[in-house]
Amino acid sequence: MAGTAAPIDVNGHQEEPVVIFEHVSIGFDRKQVLEDISFKVRRGETRILLGPAGVGKSVLLKLANGLLKPDSGRIFVFGQEVSAMREEDLFALRGSIGTVFQEGALFDSLNVRDNVGFRLEEEHVAEDEITKRVTEALRFVELEQAIYKFPSELSGGMRRRVAIARAIVTNPDLLLYDSPTGGLDPITSTTIIELVVKQRDVYQTSSLLVTHRLQDAFMMATHRFNRETNQMEPLPEDRINANTSFLMLHDRKLVFDGTTHDLVHSSDPFIRGYIA
């Protein structure tokens, strides 16, 4: 694979990034949305994609699991070129990608159990096994009591948590979160971020998270999940999570790709304005 310099791991093997975008561009009806986007997500890494509303963050996530096809450029996930795959072949690959959609996108004709267990149901897993694994996933998002409720009976925050449970129930190797805190109040947002941090620190799942809320992004970089207390806690003074780094979109282009430290010390006027 030309142009994809992979890092060398301790055993001297080249470890391939989980997600690679290479010069990706896409537009709709003559309106260019993303232009020449290149970045990588390495195994175990959490990348936070920042950008104002309408810049194309959701579009970028949909490109990553092949829901949209780029006009030009190439996209690799787990070494497979999703931008060149047929829809039929993508269904299998998406089995190891968990996606949390912007508004949750729960199936409103199905209850919480059937929503979370949808993929298991499709794979013809036995019914009591489904109930068991759904209960586990719901316990992770602390929503076991809602298992037989319908999406219409849930609050916005609960729906988002069910969506996270649905994405993680099959233990995916890559998680895509589209604005998981969008439209939620600050307290509910914090509980959602806590879940994302928990997933990151307990399972080390590679993930790409989209948000326009800077406070959420910084909370993820400066907090860790404590398994003893089962709570999120701030990292010691001046420490930041080394596996969490940033991407920023502005006006069709990727204007930033780097660590938390680089982001806060950037001299770019747009970035300074954004994080001020």
Partner: protein, 259 residues
Amino acid sequence: MPLATLDTSARKYVLAVQQYVLLSARALGNVARKPFYGADVITQADSIGVGSLPIVLLTGFFLGGVLALQSSSTLAQFGAAAFTGQLVSFSMIKEIGPVVTSLMVSGRNASGMASELGSMMVTEQIDAMRALGTDPLKKLVMPRIVATIVMNFFLTILSDAVGILGGGLVSVMMLGQDGTQYFNTSYQSLQYPDIIQGLVKPVVFGFIIATIGCFYGMSTRGGTQGVGRSTTQAVVVSSVLIIASDFIISRFLIGILGR
């Protein structure tokens, strides 16, 4: 720039037709391919078939009745009122039954499919399904097409039957005709070509209803407003296509079957 707009709308139209053909072909190809969503076919058949039964029976019955009323007065001018039964059964089986049943089913179900799939589309439920590794063409579209074709077929037969019955009741009770004569003429004059025409049509119309309903549903854009637009368009387009294809099928089958 009127020429430019004409060009864009023509291109849009061609693109839409192409997408419609693609969707229909892929959904049909899925009938034979695994997994087969049997349970979803049954659910759809129940909602489409059982749900449409009352309106189809009611319209069939009254249309049969009105056909008897109208035709007997015309036939009486030629002293041929005794052929009322034949005229009613001919019209019901070859034209009115299939067309009106399908228009009813379309009004109820093409709109239902467009709005259901359309709201799933605008709330990203369709994308979520794809992201979960399930093909919406298999899970949502294929069951609707199969269920609509099968149900439209049987609903049409029922509509034909109650229409002939309704015509009979009107002939006997309101026009004072002989019941035995009515049912004898309506039955004896029927030939295979008539039956074949009457049974081919609901299959084609059922296909049109489901594919148009699903196509407009799956191509919904632009929020709640878009869902409303898709719903209306699905009913309008499927109704026009039903009537236009009725003409073509009739012409074609009369051509090969000779009547």
